[in-house]
Symmetry: C2
Subunit: 330 residues, 2 copies
């Protein structure tokens, strides 16, 4: 490993995993931590934490406050847990606008309401100018598990993989805004709370094997982790993967893969084959999931690999993202 | 309130409380949050969160990692809760030394062990140079309440106030180091985990009315909040308050009040009169509490005030700290 921390160690991809394994798992290791996916599971309680450092703080489709509550509640939802209690810790740079802070707090309030969750405790630190750029928020979420045994380790050839919407919008949106690319309102972050969608899937007894919101590292990171953890091959039909024209445009302009771009309200599901169609129908009832698609099947064709099949019959591997990607994406 | 965030709004004193009330309580308000003291109480579960931004990161008597675990576990202990699960979120500046990170993680591990707690989930963000100075850590703690009904609202004239050790060491130490004052090893932060001490008090059936670790805002902030919340007057015998020569020296040099300086392993207790002596004996068994003293009685002499009686019979009010105090103290 490098001697100093690099941006790529926060990318949600390979270098990030290496840092976590070699430093944090090495010294903090315990069964709950090692089994932790989007949330840690303690009996019927799910717990997750995230720090948000996104820049710009206000972006098309949300702001750092909405992102914090969505991100944390979504991590609970992905483990089948109903978001209940959140803690909220602000680190604010001296000189930050109180009006902006209040706007952020109101975004959080709205999103908490959607999730039926509440802030139960918090912390505020103010640091001198230049000790921090703007504002960082940490939210820790506690949820009540309503569907047990959701796990990235259990995906098999009995499952199909669904994506809940068109991919890459959050990453493309933040990138475009940061680079000053004029994208008008057509390109919006997908930032949204997913619990109500998950709740509906659970209520309808959909046999969910695994769920994961495709944040840092994008859909590539999720599918590659699943392939590795469940020791399977995931075969993606490239033309089935929903990508908006706007995201495709940004990708072509800048040489990105939409698969690697972050999402903040789009998730991948592995569900039992017989339930896939029904799951899709449920998803499509929600505006935020109207572009949901079945995108992949599971095979043993290659060991722990993600394969992209294109419509002309050729294939390529989709690898775990590496390198810097986009810092301060969330 | 000001239009932009000021350093004084992170001081643990009056301006800090105003920000919390006008922005956070205003919009996030719910019974659990409004009743929250050092931790929020949900049934038999205590929850607390803190972000740590201390500078320097390594100081005499500890580092940001030790501080994070102590601070979070102490907030649980102060509500009579045994620290069990911690989440841990790092925000790290690109270029930060991996060796320093590992040193911080090892400090955390040691302190977790003292508390019998474990890290169950985490998050790592790496931000570009200049987006943050060094490293910030957020820890959220979940504990199991072993003594119910500890509350700052219930202190009465039946209580005596004890302080668990000599005050102001963390604040004085950070200040001295930051200003380059050569204090050798004589002045160390009091940074320490308090659960084992609290556990012993509980085991011995000490009737604890309230406990509070005297962090930002120091002993002044704790006693003033208690006076207000319990609608009492706290009469402190000035000569009974333990202050080390080193801290006294720094205070005289720089015009500080030791009462306002932060502590990170020193707490105030309100206990029933008949148990005060026994509590003191228990405290003194612990090296970190060897300087514990009974420092105050409760009266109705003035409404919601803290009075300092000096040994020559004169008195003055000890007010809630205001102004900038010391940013990045924890």
């Amino acid at each position: 490993m490098t001697k100093t921390i690099t941006l790529s160690q926060g990318n949600g991809g390979e270098e990030n995993n290496e840092l976590i394994k070699k430093i944090f798992f090495e010294h903090f290791g315990n069964p709950t931590l090692l089994k932790c996916e989007d949330s840690a599971i303690i009996g019927s309680m799910a717990v997750t934490t995230d720090s948000f450092t996104v820049k710009p703080i206000f972006f098309n489709g949300g702001d750092i406050g909405k992102l914090a509550v969505c991100g944390t509640c979504n991590d609970l939802a992905m483990m089948g847990a109903r978001p209940k209690y959140l803690t909220c810790s602000f680190i604010i740079e001296e000189g930050f606008s109180v009006e902006s802070l209040e706007k952020i707090v109101l975004s959080m309030k709205k999103e908490l309401c959607i999730n039926g969750a509440q802030i139960i405790t918090g912390d505020t630190k103010v640091v001198p100018k230049n000790a921090l750029d703007g504002i960082f928020i940490n939210t820790t979420g506690i949820g009540e598990v309503e569907m047990q045994n959701i796990s990235s380790n259990s995906i098999s050839t009995d499952d199909l993989i669904i994506v809940s919407g068109d991919i890459g919008r959050h990453g493309a949106c933040i990138f475009a805004q940061r680079e000053g690319i004029d994208i008008k309102s057509a390109l919006q972050s997908d930032c949204a709370s997913l619990w109500l969608v998950v709740e509906e899937l659970i209520k309808n007894d959909i046999k969910i094997t695994a769920m994961r919101d495709a944040t840092r590292g994008g859909l590539s990171a999720v599918l590659n982790e699943w392939a590795k953890q469940s020791n399977i091959c995931i075969e993606v039909e490239e033309k089935a993967v929903p990508i908006s024209k706007e995201v495709q445009g940004i990708c072509e302009l800048l040489g990105f893969e939409a698969y690697n771009l972050a999402n903040e309200g789009t998730f991948a599901l592995a569900v039992k084959k017989e339930d896939a169609q029904k799951a899709l129908e449920i998803l499509k009832k929600f505006e935020i999931c109207k572009n949901a698609q079945i995108i992949a099947k599971v095979s043993n064709e290659y060991s722990q690999k993600v394969v992209l099949n294109n419509e002309w019959g050729s294939k390529r591997f989709l690898d775990m993202p590496t390198g810097e990607l986009l810092p301060r994406i969330c």
